[in-house]
């Protein structure tokens, strides 16, 4: 255990924990916006898979990681159009349509992978971006300021989302659509348009989450996400529908995963028990849900399509 509590190991563990938290954070921030507007998107995992594959394919064939990220976000957006059309325009049962989108993404991403790529080849990794000055601060520098661009972007989104939701007209409209769509409608707010936009933002961020996961792993494989998209949905509840809460949940997941990895590498816990230790975040999340279920209230019409005149 002593070899874990050295400065170098701890610093590296926290740094990798932050990197591991990033896909969760991006996906769950997007889902927070969508859920605040009243739409629950269970297809997140499928969207992440499709984006991750697209990014992989673009990176493999062009070698351009920027283009790969753009393609990932683009696929997320397109899936967002589909999701919004199904959930908002066609007023489908969101829990079930989400499972459909998930299975679609799970199947199609692997189908395309097998047909278009076949043998998995690693892609170039995204180089860390050292923030001038800050990166050289001892201990804190290697932890926080030698990460990739996507990591900075994800964490900068937290205050942005908080501000937009609480301090802008658009944010108020989103919350109104999720709490009392009839009242919003009576004031001339188009509930459908607000929900469409919230879903599009959410799915685009899910696309970026898939890309960030891919760039972290450097290679695509079947079911790359391993249900991370579903966890991201749970983290929204865990974070009680706030950007800061969601960040806390994502960091918890990332850090526990990093600690388990480090312990495994150092031989502190046997290889087999690491599987048991890896259940910790899920168990913690369930326990947290017990608490959230009593203390916080979800958006009043979450998952319910809005129909005029009811």
């Amino acid at each position: 255990m002593t070899q874990f509590f050295t400065q170098a190991v701890l610093t590296a563990t926290i740094a990798s924990g932050i990197a591991l938290a990033t896909p969760f954070l991006l996906a769950s921030l997007g889902e927070t916006i969508g859920q605040r507007s009243g739409v629950i998107n269970l297809g997140l995992d499928g969207i992440m898979l499709l984006s991750a594959f697209t990014s992989y394919y673009v990176a493999l064939s062009t070698g351009n990681l920027g283009l790969a990220a753009l393609a990932g976000v683009g696929v997320g957006f397109v899936m967002g159009v589909a999701t919004a059309f199904i959930s908002v325009t066609l007023k489908a049962e969101q829990g079930i349509s989400g499972i459909g989108v998930y299975l679609f993404g799970l199947g199609l991403s692997d189908l395309l992978f097998v047909k278009l790529v076949g043998t998995p080849l690693p892609i170039a990794s995204l180089p860390p971006f050292r923030i001038p000055l800050l990166a050289d601060v001892p201990i804190l520098g290697p932890m926080f300021f030698q990460q990739t661009v996507i990591v900075y972007f994800a964490f900068l989104l937290v205050p942005v989302v908080t501000f937009v939701l609480n301090r802008t007209t658009y944010g108020m409209k989103i919350k109104a659509a999720g709490e009392n769509p009839a009242a919003a409608d009576s004031l001339g707010v188009s509930v459908a348009r607000i929900r469409w936009s919230a879903v599009l933002i959410g799915c685009s961020l899910a696309g970026l989450a898939g890309t960030s996961l891919l760039l972290y792993d450097g290679i695509f494989q079947q079911n790359l996400t391993q249900s991370e998209g579903f966890i991201a949905v749970a983290l929204v509840y865990f974070g009680a529908w706030t950007a800061v809460g969601v960040m806390g949940g994502s960091l918890l997941y990332g850090l526990v995963a990093a600690v388990v990895l480090a312990w495994k590498a150092l031989g502190i816990i046997p290889l087999s028990a690491s599987d048991l230790a890896a259940t910790a975040p899920a168990v913690l999340t369930v326990l947290a849900l017990l608490w959230v279920g009593r203390r916080f209230r979800q958006p009043a019409v979450l998952g319910k399509p809005y129909e005029r005149g009811e």
Binding site: G95, L103, D110, S272, R294
Partner: protein, 412 residues
């Protein structure tokens, strides 16, 4: 309350009786929506096959041939369908109580683990004792994994979608832990096999083949019997009535003095037990007669926990219709392999198409609801407006109706 099975989505007598003008539309949406969704998904699949340079007609021919073309193929399809049917039956129970169980994957895994552990511990018992024992162990394992989210929803207002997802993750890690340590087959490692699996389970625990020359084992008729039993439970017993009443309206059930919380918990427990039984079938009806995984849940379940939801939906959330629907989807899964052999398109195509079919059904559902409320409006000649009612509640709830809203996040 009538107890007949109704249309896939429950055509109400009131709607069909009155307005003849809207009748056809009502019937069309009720009975044609599901096949239409499937056909639409298959058409998209044909386009995808063509895009990959494969001949779609040839591909689908191979799929049908591989799934239903011979007695051996039919047996294999039935074997694939049995766990799907059990999961679907479990999903029906939960959905009828308005609980959205997407923890099928985890419940299957726990059922598989519990039953395999039973067979490892008591392998010497004779078949007559051991087979019922392992099946019960499987059901018990799944039941525990279903009871937890059920109780959490009922007593602590925890959204069941999230708790079941989380328990799926816990289950896969538990499975990996047990299959890497306590339950692993040491000899397989010595021979170089690195797949996490139990050792060959006692032949006394194998589900006997009932049609020689095929894979058709005892689990298939068992699953059908369970489906019939659950249908009777839901529509012929007071417990089943309570489940459906709670699913249709919690306030009404409370007002009627029903134990709502206990009913929700029991419904999820039963739902989990069905999935756990499916897990046992996957172990003891497999060709390898071991519990094998590739380190992911899907590696053991083959996504049965999710596909079972689709089967239940296609069966109109009715266990009897689910029997047909499970056979169809079992065929799709089995035929996917023949499709790959014939055209080189990987079986993932089937997963993709199942996903599309789900999306199409729920999208058509809105059109169906609209057609139905119009038909009712014509029939009753009064505007259909129930203040505060969910969108689907255009009519007094009938016995065959699915709950108005299936996902009612944490409001038990």
């Amino acid at each position: 309350m009538a107890a007949r099975p109704r249309g896939p989505h429950g055509v109400t007598g009131a709607g069909a009786a009155g307005a003849s003008r809207a009748d056809w539309r009502l019937l069309l949406f009720s009975w044609a929506a599901l096949p239409a969704a499937l056909v639409a998904a298959l058409l998209v699949g044909a386009v995808m096959m063509a895009a990959f340079g494969a001949n779609p007609i040839y591909g689908y021919q191979a799929l049908v041939q591989g799934a239903f073309g011979s007695s051996y193929a039919l047996g294999t399809t039935a074997v694939k369908a049995a766990p799907l049917l059990l999961v679907a039956v479990g999903i029906c129970i939960a959905f009828r109580a308005n609980v959205f169980n997407i923890g099928g994957e985890g419940q299957i895994a726990m059922g598989g683990l519990a039953s395999a552990a039973m067979a490892l511990a008591f392998g010497n018992l004779p078949s007559v004792v051991l087979i019922p024992l392992v099946l019960l162990a499987g059901a018990a394992g799944g039941a525990v994994w279903g009871a937890i989210p059920g109780a959490f929803k009922a007593y602590f207002n925890v959204n069941e979608i999230l708790s079941t997802i989380m328990l799926n993750l816990v289950a896969v890690q538990l499975m990996n832990y047990l299959l890497a340590g306590p339950m692993v087959d040491r000899s397989a490692f010595s021979t170089g096999g690195l797949i996490p699996e139990t050792k060959l389970l006692s032949p006394n625990s194998w589900l006997p083949i009932i049609v020689p020359g095929t894979q058709l084992h005892l689990g298939v008729p068992l699953a059908v019997l369970v489906a019939i039993a659950v249908y009777l439970l839901l529509w012929r017993t007071s417990f089943g009535f309570r489940i459906r009443a709670v699913g249709l309206s919690v306030p009404a059930a409370t007002y009627a003095g029903m134990p709502v919380k206990r009913t929700v918990t029991l419904a999820m427990t039963l739902s989990g037990a069905m999935c756990g039984l499916a897990g046992a079938l996957l172990v003891f009806g497999s060709l390898s007669h071991r519990l094998v995984t590739d380190g992911s849940l899907t590696g053991f379940t083959g996504s049965a926990g999710f596909n079972g939801i689709v089967v239940a939906l296609f069966g109109g959330l009715n266990p009897l219709y689910a029997i047909v629907s499970a056979f169809l989807f079992g065929g799709l899964v089995v035929g996917g392999n023949s499709l790959q052999v014939a055209t080189g398109v990987p079986p993932d195509l089937v997963t993709t198409l199942i996903g599309l079919a789900v999306v199409f059904i729920v999208s058509l559902e809105y059109l169906r609801r609209r057609a139905r409320s119009r038909a009712l409006a014509l029939a009753q000649s009064v505007p259909v407006k129930a203040p505060g009612a969910p969108p689907a509640a255009g009519a007094p709830p009938a016995a065959g109706d699915p709950p108005a809203t299936l996902v009612d996040g944490g409001s038990a």
